[in-house]
């Protein structure tokens, strides 16, 4: 499951492009910064953490599902 820091995200879309599970897609709506930030597609992420490393902007964190619920 991914958490996005929208303040850091610049909308390069690299996470969406390189996710091996197609678990991310651009948001339909533009945000305040004028970009379509990534949003998660339900039940696809396998927690491989590639998006976390490929993001040039430190904007993505991959968290375990139960960690999120706590």
């Amino acid at each position: 499951m991914i958490e996005l820091n929208e303040e850091y995200c610049k909308g390069c879309n690299l996470c969406i492009v390189y996710c091996p599970r197609d678990a991310l897609e651009p948001a339909e709506e533009l945000n305040e910064k004028g970009i379509h930030p990534p949003v998660e597609v339900e039940d696809r992420c396998n927690g491989c953490r590639l998006c976390e490393l490929i993001c040039p902007d430190f904007a993505i964190t991959v968290v375990e599902k139960d960690e999120e619920e706590e």
């Binding site: 610049k10 879309n13 690299l14 953490r49 490929i54």
Partner: protein, 291 residues
């Protein structure tokens, strides 16, 4: 086998913990353009610092001027942001006067090979125990895209509107031939190899040089029509070849395969050698003459 081991180590700590430990969040978001790879070089360096467990109170970062030279400012550590091209001269001074410090330099291809070229070859020749992480985007990014000594022949720049006529320097080859004892080159697109390489560079007791090929999505991309951010990032996969594969094709490949090698850039650990560093030799000399 080895790969598995590396992955496990990286997964032990969360990205959030790494960022909270090393990043200056008050400086974020960083200044780099959308899709620029310099942020990845910072990220991979932080992972390598963590894996190596370097004491940040005994570590100093230095840099010159350029987009890439802004990097030390984002790390919660003591740093010297020096003048253009001179980071290695300052780093030499820091390491010689306080050999206990881990000295790490961020530089750009312009900073390192252009105005700082002389400092670079002599730092390699002296084999000072420092780690240099060079962001090579083949252009002067910060000042808007002038030709650099690394710009490939035929590429466009604001100062080469008809294509660059000058032959380019290969930074890693220059480091090897000048005397550096650990030299590696990677693209930013694949995170694990550069993280491991930066860690090895930190371990090496001598001049370590890691060249990171990184897309400048503004100045270089616009001049050279690299397409979308995604297309530019994919370009690295088509353009690079692992040093081992390069060697194998050179020895056993077909004529056709050998022909294709001409357009490829070798990535991997390109050189490793054991040699006493100047900083260590100076310490030994001091002890000797003091007796």
């Amino acid at each position: 086998m080895e790969k598995k081991e590396e992955k496990r180590e990286v997964e032990m700590i969360s990205a959030k913990e790494i960022r909270d430990k090393y990043l200056r969040h008050d400086m974020m978001p960083h200044i780099f353009c959308t899709g620029c790879g310099i942020g990845n070089v910072l990220d991979y360096t932080l992972w390598a610092l963590e894996k190596e467990g370097l004491d940040m109170d005994k570590t100093v970062f230095l840099s010159g001027i350029g987009c890439s030279s802004r990097l030390p400012g984002y790390i919660d550590v003591d740093s010297l942001h020096t003048t253009h091209g001179r980071a290695l001269a300052f780093a030499t001074g820091v390491k010689i006067t306080n050999p206990e410090l881990n000295v790490i330099v961020f530089t750009g291809d312009g900073d390192c090979m252009g105005i700082g070229g002389n400092h670079f070859i002599h730092a390699c020749r002296r084999n000072i125990d420092i780690t240099v992480i060079a962001v090579n985007n083949y252009i002067y990014g910060m000042t808007g895209g002038q030709v650099a000594p690394t710009t490939p022949e035929g590429d466009y720049a604001t100062t080469a509107p008809y294509g660059n006529l000058e032959p380019a320097f290969d930074m890693s080859e220059m480091a090897i031939s000048s005397g550096a004892t650990y030299v590696a080159r990677w693209g930013v697109k694949r995170p694990n190899q550069p993280i491991n390489s930066i860690q090895e560079a930190l371990q090496n007791k001598g001049m370590s040089f890691v060249e990171m090929m990184s897309p400048c999505t503004t100045a270089y991309s616009r001049q050279n029509r690299m397409g979308s951010i995604e297309e530019f990032w994919d370009w690295y996969d088509n353009k690079t070849i692992l040093a081992e594969d390069h060697e194998r094709i050179k020895q056993y490949g077909s004529e056709e395969e050998k022909e294709e090698l001409k357009d490829k850039i070798k990535v991997g650990v390109l050189h490793k050698e054991e040699k006493k560093s100047l900083s260590e030799r100076i310490q030994e000399l001091i002890e000797e003459v003091q007796v």
